[in-house]
Symmetry: C2
Subunit: 276 residues, 2 copies
């Protein structure tokens, strides 16, 4: 069986490496428009070999799309006409727009997946074999995919030791806005607000765990994230609005010197303890 990984950055590179280790009967092929990424992925032994052209990608049994979400939509159009037995798995962070824009003829080929994992690092050299282990992968609108494809996808994610969760793509996008996209929006804004101060170096010299943790994902890829914000526009605006409401409330409590109300509000935030 051949598995072709399209996009050999952190997500695709780690996917390739994990599968190479766990599904030893498979041939893992790599594909990336960036020649430098192809070269690195081969050198780092992330894949068995690099596809010589897009035709070789199309002939693979399983195609993994580990590229920015706008590129996923474009690539799905190029995959029209593939064999009805081929399985395509996209790893995009948004799902509804991809689902809607997939050509009808390959709807059954496609598995909409979102692995809830990642780091702020980019490129093949950031790949590591345990990125997916014990993490959650959300499979969306699975009933629209073919039975064969469903079975293949479950085999792949089980090989990566992932926990599978099922959801409608609409519900996924609204949850992902809060749990993943909003934190990225906040982290980018926090980084920029400090960097624009008069003397950012002196401020950052004092940084401890709290700031480092919160600003880490502000180092994430601008292309990947502007794509996500584009595709999940409405949900992200809703989540930013909900967050703004809380921060504005805190601001008012500070201005009005309402320390007891503030403690009550913070105690509510502490309840996260009970769930996470």
């Amino acid at each position: 069986m051949t598995v072709c990984i399209v996009g050999l950055g952190l997500m695709g590179g780690s996917f390739a490496l994990s599968l190479k280790n766990s599904l030893k009967i498979c041939t893992i092929i790599g594909y990336d428009l960036n020649k430098d990424h192809q070269f690195q992925a081969k050198n780092l032994n992330l894949v068995h070999h690099i596809a010589k052209d897009f035709d070789e990608v199309k002939k693979s049994d399983i195609i993994i799309l580990a590229i920015p979400v706008e590129a996923i939509i474009k690539t799905l159009k190029l995959l029209e006409g593939i064999d009805s037995k081929t399985t395509i798995i996209d790893l995009g962070s948004t799902k509804e727009k991809i689902s809607i824009q997939t050509p009808k003829s390959i709807k059954k080929n496609l598995i909409l997946a979102h692995p809830m994992t990642g780091t702020e690092k980019v490129g093949p050299s950031a790949a590591f074999s345990t990125l997916y282990r014990d993490k959650i992968v959300v499979l969306c609108d699975l009933e629209h995919s073919g039975k064969h494809q469903q079975a293949q996808a479950i085999k792949i994610f089980e090989a990566l030791s992932m926990k599978i969760s099922y959801m409608k793509s609409k519900e996924h996008d609204s949850h992902a806005a809060f749990i993943s996209h909003l934190p990225h929006a906040i982290s980018f804004a926090l980084a920029n607000s400090v960097l624009k101060q008069e003397d950012p170096k002196s401020i950052l010299a004092l940084s401890a765990g709290g700031f480092r943790d919160m600003s880490r994902i502000a180092k994430s890829s601008p292309i990947m994230w502007s794509d996500i914000f584009r595709q999940n526009k409405t949900n992200i605006l809703t989540s930013i609005e909900a967050f703004n409401k809380e921060l504005t409330y805190l601001e008012k409590l500070i201005k009005d010197e309402e320390w007891e109300k503030m403690q009550k509000w913070m105690k509510n935030a502490n309840l996260l303890h009970n769930i996470l």
Copy 2:
């Protein structure tokens, strides 16, 4: 030499434990208004013994105030009349208000210190001996402290293997607002915005590293943090305003579908890479 730690939570407990390990000639005494904390600190061997009353605290050579910042101001008033050789070190996260409100007669006794370290955990059981190791401690307005006290404080922080940084308390409070207080404000607001959604459990079930890192400090102590927000009111409001400006800009870019401008804005945030 006797060192008395007032406040036996995460910060005080860890301070006691580290000093016990590194300055073996010292007797480490503990004091806490919370009897349960005293009992735990003794049981966990964080201190050699518990002070029988506040008079014993006052007779110590070095007094460490590891309590919320409003309590620091109250306690400093109770310390009026101590020996001129006694060293008081406060570990509060704000410095200017404490500096202003310290009784004149003990100004030389006091060292204004802010160790840039911590975790979201609370109480004596959260204490660990390496909390301070290799971390930065900011000493403020040091020229106002007595020569003897300066030497004692430097000895103590060197024993904890800390890196010492010097600053005016005014400058410290403005930097700390951005690097520490703003991230806490954001984290509390993020936690509350998710917890107030219709089905927070389903959302949180998907949480990965990014969200966990950003919400971790939302589990911090409400009393400690409302005190800090009270004492550093103006600087915190300034930092929230700077952050809001960035988030509002992002919101506008999303609404206007300005994806290229968004990438430019995110690339600027990526510059954090070069400093942190």
